[in-house]
């Protein structure tokens, strides 16, 4: 009797599991389905922990960092004023540049639509540099779109859900970006070296007029992954090993990746 019941239970479980697996496969794919199901289970617990941890964190942060927050607020107001001034000054130049680049049939990021998004989660491990954002397919966000914030390129959308997306940061070890710099036709490939390590480029030709402080922009090459002119990084040091025929270049992202709260997704698809 007990063995019949156990067999029936095993059959029911097996058939149910097969049906669920088939349904997941037909709708969203197995791995994506498993991820969605797990997110569904974990989200109430994450929400509960967040509701408990946030006030405690705010209490400590408020008690310890109050004067820092006030100082930071004053500094931000000052920088906002400076940025507003600079924006007004460069408006005419931007318009002229836009007209010129349109004539040259190259994409200009200033004319591309963007979607603002909130950063919801950082990577849960130290082995990948990613963030999750609050906009997804429903907002027109697709895999491959560039993401900008805080003064430059932040990363690329690598996966989307209807209401969210995952962005691989430019510092991730799997990130490579084609860049160039002002008055130069030289293209350089930057690569990320992990979350805590500086980005870099090797095999930069000695003829390149590159020096510390040079700002590197996406090169927007045809078929490239990014539109032209997104600021990516600033050169921090240029190393020339004795006897070498190329430079090794160290760079730091122009965007402040340590304080990502809001980002803009550029609605631009590669090869468009």
């Amino acid at each position: 009797m007990a063995s019949d019941r156990a067999k029936r239970r095993a059959w029911t479980l097996g058939v149910s599991a097969t049906l669920v697996a088939t349904l997941l496969y037909l709708t969203v794919g197995v791995e994506s389905g498993v991820r969605s199901a797990i997110n569904l289970v974990v989200s109430p617990f994450s929400w509960t922990v967040n509701e408990i941890a946030r006030p405690v964190g705010h209490l400590f942060a408020g008690a310890i960092n109050y004067s820092d927050v006030v100082a930071q607020n004053q500094r931000l107001r000052y920088e906002l004023g400076k940025a507003q001034t600079a924006l007004n000054q460069t408006w005419a130049m931007q318009r002229q540049l836009q007209q010129m680049t349109t004539q040259l049939h190259v994409p200009f990021v200033g004319s591309l639509p963007v979607v603002a998004a909130q950063v919801t989660t950082l990577a849960p491990t130290s082995f990948a540099a990613t963030v999750d954002i609050s906009v997804g397919r429903e907002n027109g966000v697709l895999a491959g779109m560039p993401v900008v914030a805080n003064g430059g390129l932040v990363g690329t959308v690598i996966s989307t859900t209807p209401h969210g997306a995952t962005v691989r940061l430019i510092t991730d070890a799997n990130s490579t970006i084609g860049v160039t710099y002002a008055n130069s036709s030289t293209s350089i490939v930057l690569s990320g070296h992990g979350l805590n390590n500086a980005m870099g480029a090797s095999s930069v030709a000695l003829t390149s007029a590159i020096r510390p402080g040079t700002v590197l922009f996406t090169d927007g090459l045809r078929g490239g992954l990014y539109p032209l002119g997104l600021p990516v990084a600033r050169v921090t040091h240029v190393n020339l090993t004795p006897g070498a025929t190329t430079y090794d270049v160290g760079v730091a992202p122009t965007a402040n990746l340590a304080d990502l709260f809001y980002v803009d997704v550029v609605l631009w698809e590669p090869s468009t």
């Binding site: 498993v34 997110n39 974990v42 967040n50 950082l122 130290s126 996966s159 991730d172 805590n196």
Partner: protein, 170 residues
């Protein structure tokens, strides 16, 4: 074990919540402390291999679902941690009552040091060579330190949650 399964799973999901909400933002030297590996260690030291493997699998998969790293890798490393810890737990090593107070922290430090390295090695096995380009050494020492500090409290929590006494170990 079945009596301890439900509270252990609920505790595991809360640990995952802490991992995703608190520890992800509370980085030490840019490194995330992997509570989802420390928890299987704590449960494993109580002597239950099956329970340790289950919490490692559930916790690891939950974190893997939020990461772009190879799916299941965190769970596999957690499983290895739980298995070895359970072998030690059955021998009474790291037992909170009989062993010296410093044994559990030392074990925590060793596991915290080795787990990120194992993660990177297994990543290479599944042909993901980008993991070692991150801050593996930082991840190792930060996790070793954190595991040393929290291994004993979490082992105590594990014993309370799973309600496993030495007599019930299987």
């Amino acid at each position: 074990m079945s009596r301890a399964l439900v509270p252990a799973l609920v505790a595991t999901l809360f640990i995952v919540g802490v991992q995703l909400v608190v520890l992800t933002n509370l980085r030490v030297a840019g490194v995330v402390v992997m509570a989802v590996w420390l928890w299987p260690l704590a449960v494993g030291l109580s002597g239950s291999t099956a329970l340790g493997l289950i919490v490692a699998g559930v916790g690891g998969l939950c974190v893997d679902a939020h990461a772009i790293t190879p799916f299941g890798l965190t769970a596999v490393v957690g499983g290895a941690v739980a298995w070895v810890a359970a072998r030690l737990g059955r021998e009474g090593v790291g037992d909170l009552d009989s062993a010296a107070w410093w044994v559990t922290p030392i074990l925590g430090a060793i596991f915290g040091l080795l787990a990120p390295a194992l993660y990177v090695v297994l990543g290479a096995v599944v042909l993901n060579f980008s993991l070692w380009r991150g801050s593996v050494l930082d991840a190792m020492w930060v996790n070793a330190l954190a595991f040393a500090v929290f291994a004993r409290p979490l082992a105590r929590l594990g014993r309370v949650v799973t309600r496993l006494s030495p007599a019930m170990r299987r």
